[in-house]
C-alpha cells in the first residue's frame, strides 16, 4: 500500500481517550449518558471488527453467491431499519410497498452503476460491489424513510383536503397529488443539499478513505462524483417508486380514503 500507516493495537487503543474524555465530561455535568456512550463505542468496535474479517474473507474467496448474499442481507437490514425508524402506524400494504420500492430501486441503480458506469469485472467483484452497493442502499434508506414519514403524516393531517377533493370527483391520484409531491421533495432534498456542500463544507467519506489509502485525489473525486450521481439516481428512483405506489395503499377498491 502506498506508504499508508498501519495502526498498531496501542495506537488504536489510544484513540479511545476520546471516549474516556466524553465519559468524564458527562459524569461531571451529571448527564446520565454513560451507558449509551459505552454501549455504542463497544458496538461500533465489535461491528467493524466483524465486518473487517468478513470482508477480508470475501476478498480472498470471491464468489458471486457471496456477493448476492451480502446484497440480500443489506437490503433486508435496510428495509427493517426503515420499519423501525417510522413511528407512525403503517399498514401491511404500505410495508410491502416500502420493501418493493427499496429493493427494485436500489438493485436497478446498483446494477447500472456497477456495470455501466464503473464497468467492474468480474461482475461480482466484492471490492467494488460491497462498498458501493452499501452506499447506495444506505442513502436510499434515509431518503425513503423521510418520504414515508411525510406521506403518512400528509395523508393523516390532510384527510379533510383529500376527502373534499374526492367529493368533487377527483381520482385518488389527483386528491393525493400535493402530498405525494411534497413527500418526494422532502425525501430527495437532503441528497441535493449534500451535493451543494460537498468538497467545500466537508470532504465526503469515500473520497477521504481513498485519499488516506494512497489513491490520487483526482481519481478519488472521479469516484466521488460518480457515486454521488449514483446515490442521487437511486434515491430518486426508490422514492418515486415508493410515493407513486405508496399513496395507493391509502385508498381501497372503492377509492375511499382508508387511514387505519
Amino acid at each position: 500500500m502506498n506508504g499508508i500507516i498501519d495502526l498498531s493495537f496501542w495506537q488504536l487503543a489510544s484513540a479511545y481517550i476520546f471516549v474516556v474524555a466524553l465519559l468524564i465530561i458527562v459524569k461531571m455535568k451529571g448527564i446520565a449518558r454513560e451507558q449509551e456512550i459505552l454501549i455504542s463505542s463497544v458496538r461500533m468496535t465489535l461491528q467493524l471488527i466483524i465486518v473487517g474479517y468478513v470482508l477480508s474473507y470475501l476478498f480472498e474467496h470471491e464468489n458471486p453467491l457471496y456477493t448476492l448474499l451480502i446484497i440480500g442481507v443489506m437490503e433486508v437490514f435496510a428495509i427493517l431499519n426503515i420499519y423501525k425508524r417510522i413511528k407512525a402506524k403503517m399498514s401491511v400494504k404500505l410495508k410491502k410497498v416500502i420493501a418493493l420500492s427499496m429493493f427494485a430501486g436500489t438493485i436497478l441503480s446498483i446494477f447500472y452503476f456497477l456495470f455501466v458506469v464503473i464497468q467492474i469485472s468480474p461482475w461480482y467483484k466484492t471490492q467494488y460491489f460491497v462498498p458501493l452497493a452499501g452506499m447506495i442502499i444506505g442513502n436510499s434508506m434515509t431518503g425513503i424513510s423521510l418520504g414515508v414519514d411525510r406521506l403518512v403524516d400528509g395523508m393523516r393531517s390532510k384527510k379533510d383536503t383529500i376527502e373534499t377533493a374526492l367529493m368533487l370527483g377527483a381520482t385518488p391520484k389527483m386528491a393525493a397529488k400535493t402530498i405525494v409531491d411534497h413527500a418526494f421533495d422532502s425525501a430527495i432534498m437532503p441528497t441535493i443539499n449534500s451535493m451543494v456542500g460537498m468538497g467545500i463544507v466537508f470532504l465526503p467519506g469515500m473520497m477521504t478513505g481513498q485519499i488516506l489509502s494512497g489513491t490520487s485525489p483526482l481519481t478519488a473525486i472521479e469516484y466521488q462524483i460518480a457515486i454521488m450521481l449514483g446515490i442521487l439516481g437511486s434515491v430518486s428512483l426508490t422514492v418515486i417508486l415508493f410515493v407513486q405506489l405508496g399513496y395507493k395503499s391509502f385508498f381501497n377498491k372503492q377509492k375511499q380514503l382508508v387511514l387505519d
Binding site: T161, T164, M167, L168, G169, A170, Q254
Partner: protein
C-alpha cells in the same frame, strides 16, 4: 315516482340501520334528525365516500358497489360539513373543481355567474385566506354548482351562515336545482328549512329511518 337512490337492508356498524328507503329523482329531499343520528353517515354512503357494511344502495337502478366510484362522485357531488377551501384564490377553487371532474375550464364571465348564484361578490383573483367562514361556505357551494352534477348532496350547507344569508343561499340552491332539473339531498338541522323547501323529508333517529313525508 322514479327513485334516484334505493337503499336495501343497509347497515353501517352500529351507526345506521335502514331496511328500505327510496329517494325520489328531481326532488328536494331533506334529511333531518338529532346530531349523531347517522345523517352524515347516510349522505357519505350516497357519495360512496364510505360503504355500508351490509346491504346495497342502487343509484338509478344500478348497484353503486359495481360502479366506478369516481364516475359516481362526478354525477353525485357532495358538499361536506367542513369543506376545505384550496389555496390561493377564488378562481383556483373553481378551476380546481373543474379539473378534478375533468371538465373544460370556464371563461371568467361563466365563473362569475356561479359566484353570483351564491351571492358572493368577489374578484376571481381575491385570495381566499382573508375570506370569512360564511364566504368560504358560499364559495364551496359555488364550487359544487359549477360542476353541474345530476345530484347534489349537501351536508348542512348553511351551518356557518347567519340566518339571513342562510335563507338566501338555500333559496338560490333551490332555484338552481329546479331550473336545471336536478335532485337535491340535503342534511339540515333546521326544521323550518326542511318544512319550507323539502318535497320529501326523511327523519333519522338513532341510526334508524323513522319517517318519510311530512315532519
Amino acid at each position: 315516482m322514479e327513485s334516484v337512490f334505493q337503499l336495501r337492508n343497509i347497515r353501517y356498524g352500529d351507526i345506521l340501520n335502514i331496511q328500505h328507503m327510496d329517494i325520489p329523482k328531481d326532488k328536494i329531499t331533506c334529511i333531518v334528525g338529532e346530531s349523531g343520528s347517522g345523517k352524515t353517515t347516510l349522505i357519505k354512503m350516497l357519495n360512496c365516500l364510505i360503504s355500508p357494511t351490509e346491504g346495497e344502495i342502487l343509484f338509478q337502478e344500478k348497484n353503486i358497489s359495481e360502479m366506478d366510484p369516481v364516475d359516481l362522485r362526478r354525477r353525485v357531488v357532495m358538499l361536506g360539513q367542513n369543506p376545505v377551501i384550496f389555496p390561493v384564490t377564488v378562481r383556483d377553487n373553481l378551476s380546481i373543481a373543474l379539473r378534478f371532474s375533468e371538465k373544460e375550464p370556464l371563461e371568467e364571465q361563466e365563473m362569475k355567474k356561479y359566484l353570483a348564484m351564491v351571492h358572493l361578490d368577489k374578484n376571481l383573483d381575491q385570495p381566499v385566506e382573508n375570506m370569512s367562514g360564511g364566504e368560504k361556505q358560499r364559495l364551496a357551494l359555488a364550487r359544487v354548482f359549477i360542476l353541474n352534477p345530476e345530484v347534489l348532496l349537501l351536508d348542512e350547507p348553511s351551518s356557518a351562515l347567519d340566518e339571513e344569508t342562510e335563507i338566501l343561499i338555500i333559496e338560490e340552491t333551490v332555484r338552481y336545482v329546479k331550473h336545471y332539473g336536478k335532485t337535491l339531498i340535503m342534511v339540515t338541522h333546521s326544521k323550518l328549512i326542511a318544512e319550507t323547501y323539502g318535497e320529501n323529508i326523511i327523519k333519522i333517529s338513532k341510526g334508524q329511518f323513522v319517517r318519510e313525508g311530512e315532519m
